[in-house]
Amino acid sequence: MNELDHFLEAADQPERYGAGIKAGGTPVLGYLCSYAPEEIIHAAGVHPLRLFGTLESTIQADSHLQAYCCSLARGVLESALDGTLAFLDGAVFPHTCDTIQRLSDIWRLNTHFDFFADVVHPVRLDSGFAREYLEDILQRFKCELEAWSGSKIDDAALARSIETFNAARKRLDDLYLMRSRDPDCISGSRVSSIVKASMILNRDELPGRLSRLLEEIKAGSYRTGGTDDKKRLLVAGSLCDHPDFYSMVENSGGVVVWDDLCTGSRAFDGFIDPTGDHLKAIARRYFERRPCPSKHLSNTARGEALAAMAEKHKVQGILFFLLKFCDPHAFDYPYLKEYLEAKNIPVTLIEVEDSLPPEGQLATRLETFIYTL
């Protein structure tokens, strides 16, 4: 088995992989988005497993959720209620959007996992007290984990976790940079599966696996060819759990060379200072990494960040890939469209639910947008 197969397998069956970890004796906590402090979970000797929802029909979850909840909330709750996530020891709900915050209550009241925690992040990242507040929240989360696991999370364990996550994030950034320079080095759908798997795989093994994978890519093992005349695109949104989407973009004359996704570059953006107070350093990264639209840094922070990414990676157009009913992203879109178009960066919107829109309609949108670039 080559290194890539480990990533593809984990991305394809996250629950099976998580259940395997649990069977091996390590407790597993599910988490909802890239604002979950994975480093602290890992330092407690617990495996953090990102939850992605389900592509199956949601049957039980709909009795607990309003129609305006996104397919991620719906799918995650469904997987908990139908037993798919039965191997979990619990879940961590970072407060990013309102839906995730409300989902956390519904989860707590309707499931019977051993551990449950809300990590209520600040909304305004530009306020002076926000950092202090988040440090306090992380401290509290650490105490909750300690009380549950019955063992202290010491500084040495936190330091090791920080190093592990820094190393993995650096390698994912290297992978993206490599592909931005040479989109033929590996297909977009594989890159998306690799990043997804990095939120599923054993984190202690992850930096090593990524290094070997990067070597395989450099050796040309996964070269695709044929992207020379394709338009360079950036995908922006919350999560994209559809590797096929990248192939459809490629078949429509484009190639995704970078992203601003919660299941993409936002998950590995930013570095944690390994020296000094570890919780302070973990908190600091959340202020320094690119924010998601549920956080406020300034009125134009996201527009500026997207424009800078587009320039750096010679992007010709931006595809906003939004989950239906994801209101933080949906509310940001009209301003971002105006802001980016004023900077001559064309954008288009693709709204999806758990599954992609019918192939014909999606292809028509993609082909038309790419043709206009």
Binding site: P357, Q361, T364
Partner: protein, 259 residues
């Protein structure tokens, strides 16, 4: 030099043949079950009518949802791009196009050369499309071609509030049961389609001069309702339904001239 465009839509398949001097001819057939067969047949029949052979064609462009169903020997381009090119060919002053077809509606803004600048397309639901009208025509037992003229007689359009085609159909059935006039119900249906299309049009940023294309443009009731909603005149060419095929033929001509 002759070129052809084939537009394989969800309900009808259209073909157009042009040369440097203008449109030679167009043809419309029902798509049926086999889109690639429909594409081939409509072109063959059209060529036969004008005593042309496929070898006479310098280029062919296929468009519509069935554009990739077979290899027609040339490029494939989306119907959005082709409707922009077609509308520009029919009237070079046009800057916005609203295309309402069988299962999709689209709004697009074009530049002074007919190239698409921005667009919006309906989501997967059939509200605001030809299929919506077909379902309602069946419920009302009225021939779809009668819809336009009948609706113009209405003085008090019924209110159809459901967006979903299936729910709207039951709403229409309730209106029939309540004894509302057929022309009022049809006018209400047209207003409902126009409202959906106007939403798209706003999202794409359309403005005058605006042309409506696609099969639904044949329905004068929808056109009038759309004019009212958008508060701008809506131009309709007699060739509205074959506009996508014409645009495809025009883009085939550009392609052939570049060679």
């Amino acid at each position: 030099m002759y070129t052809a465009g084939i537009d394989i839509g969800s309900i009808t398949t259209k073909a157009a043949v042009i040369n440097e001097n203008g449109i030679i001819g167009t043809k419309i057939i029902l798509t049926g079950y086999n889109p690639s067969e429909a594409g081939r047949r409509v072109l063959d029949e059209l060529l036969r009518e004008y005593s042309l052979r496929s070898a006479d064609l310098a280029a062919v462009v296929a468009t519509g949802y069935g554009r990739n169903s077979a290899d027609f020997g040339g490029k494939t381009l989306t119907e959005i791009i082709c409707h922009g090119a077609g509308a520009h060919y029919l009237n070079p002053d046009v800057r916005s196009v609203v295309d309402v077809g069988g299962q999709d509606s689209k709004a697009l803004v074009i530049d002074d050369r007919g190239k698409t600048k921005d667009f919006a397309m309906n989501d997967k639901c059939a509200a605001g499309t030809g299929r919506f009208l077909e379902v309602m025509a069946r419920a009302l037992e009225v021939d779809l071609d009668e819809f336009g003229p009948l609706s113009l007689r209405s003085s008090k359009p019924s209110r159809i509030s459901s967006i979903c085609t299936v729910f709207a159909e039951s709403e229409v059935i309730s209106l029939i049961a309540k004894g509302e006039l057929r022309e009022d119900i049809i006018a209400g249906i047209h207003e409902s389609v126009a409202a959906r299309v106007a939403t798209l049009a706003h999202r794409a940023g359309v403005g005058p001069p605006l042309m409506m294309t696609g099969g639904v443009a044949r329905n004068v009731g929808v056109v009038k309702a759309l004019e009212k909603k958008l508060e701008i005149p809506v131009e309709v060419s007699p060739r509205a339904q074959v506009n996508g095929a014409i645009g495809a033929a025009v883009l085939a001509m550009e392609e052939a001239s570049r060679k």
